[in-house]
Structure formats: structure tokens, C-alpha cells
Amino acid sequence: MIREGFRSIGTHGFMSFATVTIIMACLIIMGSVTLLSLNIDRLIKGLENRNEVVAFVEDSYTEDQARALEDQIAAIENISSEKFVTRSEAFDTFMKSYSSDLAEGLDDQVLRDRYVIHLTDIALMEQTKADLENIEGVAKVKAHLDYAKTFVTIRNVVSVVSLALIAMLVFVSIFIMSNTIKLATFGRREEIAIMKMVGASNGFIRLPFVVEGLVLGILGGGLGYLAEWGLYELLTKKLVGSVAGSIFAVVPFAQIALPMLITYMAIGVFIGAFGGVNAIRSYLEV
């Protein structure tokens, strides 16, 4: 019966081709939207990371005293990294950024030692700012709460839109794929009726359809995955060479290759095998 399933793929060549193509196309569309969302999410996270929080140390603290605060700062939960910047380093940066005329007659003592801090989640920026302000020796904390709120809003909107879009595509794709399988089996209702009449059990009738569905699903999933990979590499290569490529780094395919492969295969196998069984169910009631 397993051989029957393979044989059937050949004897119903056009419908097999149509099923594989539809599964492949649906997976490419779903995968592309998922990859786009993933990259947008990564881009937002990248921009969020540029939104630094600066904690200024009390003027009266010596450099050693200021450095000693690092453990307390690092202990705050939402802080992903902190970098100590001495007042002279800060002054040098200032001099490089602005006209030296502005700083004429000033020395580095006008600035404070500071910590440049990056957060794990900028949605919690307000709480983290308060935690920093509570540390003795921290004179002031500069945090762009308004920017943070904007980023959080954008990120939330993008997440919701992406999820809704992906869910919609999954629903539409499953509908299209299962209908294609239904259409493929509709042409074989006569065959199923004959099988029933010669005394084939439902299990015997189902098994070749399961095998056939599995093979077509795996083929559709595998080919869809390869096509997605090729498309993604092609697009990212073009992007890297363009202006957009200098703004943000795309997610490398290697990083998502395994989960994508598993997802594509799982969808292919599920839709192929269960779609096939489901499609012939009504023809078995004879």
C-alpha cells in the first residue's frame, strides 16, 4: 500500500504537481511575511539599542568611587550593558562632536563621570531610570522616555500587524492547500468507490492517500524552503549593497534556517497527510 501511494503520485501527475506547487507557493508567501516581520522586529530592536540611558555620577566622587558604582548599576535587572566613561573621555567626545570654539577655555572638569547604559527592554525605561536614581552617587539620569514610548508603540503595532497578517496567511494557505488536496482527491472518488466495492478496508484506502499526502507535503515543504532560502539570500545580497543595508543588518538566513526548515516540513507533512485523509473521509462512507 505504501508503494501504491508512490505509484499514485505518478499516475496523477498533474494533480500531484499542482498540490506541490500550491503548498510551495503558500509556504513561500507565509515565510516571506514572517521573515519580513522578523527583520522589522530586529530593526526596531537595533534602533532601541541606540537609545542609551546615561547615569551621571556625583561631582564630588573620585574616579575610583565612580567606578565602584558599576556593580550596583549592573545589578539592576533591566540593564543589558553598562560602560563607564570618565569625564575626560566624555570631554574628548564632546570636542570631536562640536566646534572646539564652544569648549574654549573649558577643561574636562566641567563634565561628570558617567555610565552609558543599554536596556534589555526599553518599555521598562521609566522604572529603570528610577532604580538608577535610587543609587547613592548617581546625581542624575538622562533617559529619553518619549522616544522609548514611541519605539514601544511602534514595536507593539508591528508585532500585532505581523501576527495578524501571518495568522491570516496561515488560515488562507491552509484553506487553499486543503482545497487543492480535496480537488485532487475529488477526481479519484470513483477509484475510492471501486476500492470499497472490491472489499478494501478504510485503512487500506487511507494509507496510500496518507503516503501520497506525506510525500507531496514533504516535497512542497522542502522545495518551498529551498525557494525561500534562495529568494532571501538574493534579496539580502541586494539590500547589503544598497543604502538600506547601511541602516540595519538583516537577519542571516543561517540563524533561522533550522526553525524554518522544521516549520516548513511540519506544515507540509501536516497539510499533506491530514489534508489527504480529511479529503477522502466523505468518500469512505459507502
Binding site: E4, T11, H12, M197, V198, S201, F204
Partner: protein, 230 residues
């Protein structure tokens, strides 16, 4: 064998009473014609035998299986004791003659060696030797029906049930087919043929069961067509 005692069948969807208190008996090795006009209940009777529907009342026993009590998953067991032939042949278009017949053996789990031995034998029996590679659309109606008979016969059934098997054939081919059924019957297989064709029935002096409006109106073993079709 078929035993029907006081069988009634009403289609709930339409309220049509297809069979009303029908009793009949077909013994192993018999050759029986079932005749009657359209809507008389012939098809319902056939479906009761093949297990496509269940009787509401009465008793239906087919080849020792109680068809009113049998579980749905056990139906394939009954069908393996039957060979079913349809008016429209019902061959699989994209399979050649050999595969159409072998297919019936494959789906009941026969071994390959067994299939290789049995299929050529059955094809020779129905007069289709040398046509194994032909596709159904390359065959005449009579030949296609022979393939269908070969398929019905290949699993060595106790009984062949043929529903208007000559409906699409000319008189000569029809008679040839009936003679083939007779030959199969002589080998021990019970034959039940549903037909309208009076000449054909009269040509072979066999038992004739006539049915009309859900009742058996005559059951003669004297071989003549005792019922006039309206």
C-alpha cells in the same frame, strides 16, 4: 447465498418505500436474474446485498453475514465474498487492463506473486488474453465490461452481483457476456444479474425474480421471463 426475510426499506429523506416485506432466497451456485421496471426497488435490493444501505426491518444475510447487524468496519469482509459489476464498467481510466484487474487484488492485500499468477488466468477466462496493456479507452464496450467482470472475479468471490451489465452493449455482445456469466456460474460462483432485457433473460433458461413497487411479484425457476416490463 442471499437470504431476505420480510425486508422493508424506507428512504427517510424522501419517505419513499423502496421495499415492502420482501422475502427471497438465493442459494450458493444459483444463476438468478432480477428484473423489474425503473423505481421498482432493484437497486435498493442490490445495495442491501452489497452493504451500501441497511434494511429498516427484516433480515438480510449475505454469504453468512447478517447485514443488519454487521459493523461498518466489517463490511469489507462481506464485499470480498462478492464481485460487483456495474452498467458503466467503472474502470480506472489511467490504468491498463492488467492494472485495473490487479488493483482489486492489491487493495485486499494480495501478494505480488499471487497477483502475477491470478490476473493472467482471469483475463484469459474472460477472453482478454493479449490485451493486458490496453487502456480502457482503447477497448470496445463489451471488452470493457469483460475487464470489469475479470476484476469482480479476480478475488474469487462466492457471488457475482451485476447491475445492468449489458445496458451499454449491443445484443450480440450482451449474449456473449451472459454466456460468460453462465461459464463462471458453472465453475461454482453464484450469479445475480439485474437486467431489463427480456430476450436475454429468455435466451438463458434461468431463475427470474421480478420485482415491482417494492414487492416480489414473481419468482420462477422455469427460465422464462414471467414478468412484462412496463
Amino acid at each position: 447465498m442471499v437470504e431476505m426475510n420480510n425486508v422493508s426499506m424506507v428512504y427517510e429523506s424522501s419517505g419513499t418505500e423502496a421495499l415492502d416485506n420482501v422475502s427471497l432466497s438465493i442459494r450458493d451456485g444459483e444463476f438468478v436474474f432480477l428484473v423489474g421496471p425503473s423505481g421498482s426497488g432493484k437497486t435498493t435490493l442490490m445495495k442491501l446485498i452489497t452493504g451500501e444501505i441497511r434494511a429498516k426491518t427484516g433480515k438480510v444475510v449475505v454469504n453468512d453475514f447478517d447485514m443488519r447487524k454487521i459493523k461498518r468496519r466489517k463490511l469489507p469482509k462481506v464485499r470480498r465474498t462478492l464481485g460487483i459489476v456495474f452498467q458503466d464498467y467503472r474502470l480506472i481510466e489511467n490504468m491498463n487492463v492488467y492494472d485495473n484487474v490487479a488493483f482489486a487484488m492489491r487493495v485486499v492485500g494480495a501478494r505480488r506473486r499471487e497477483i502475477r499468477q491470478r490476473v493472467p488466468y482471469v483475463l484469459e477466462l474472460v477472453g482478454l488474453e493479449g490485451r493486458e496493456k490496453r487502456m480502457p479507452n482503447e477497448l470496445s464496450g463489451g471488452e470493457q465490461q469483460r475487464v470489469a467482470i475479470a476484476r469482480a472475479l479476480v478475488n474469487n468471490p462466492r457471488m457475482i452481483v451485476a447491475d445492468e451489465p449489458t445496458g451499454n452493449l449491443d445484443p450480440v455482445r450482451s449474449l456473449e457476456l451472459m454466456l460468460l456469466f453462465e461459464k463462471i456460474n458453472e465453475m461454482g460462483t453464484t450469479i445475480l444479474v439485474v437486467t431489463h432485457e427480456k430476450e436475454l433473460v429468455n435466451a438463458l433458461s434461468k431463475r427470474v425474480i421480478a420485482i415491482d413497487r417494492g414487492h416480489v411479484i414473481s419468482d420462477g425457476t422455469d427460465g422464462y421471463f414471467s414478468y412484462e416490463i412496463e
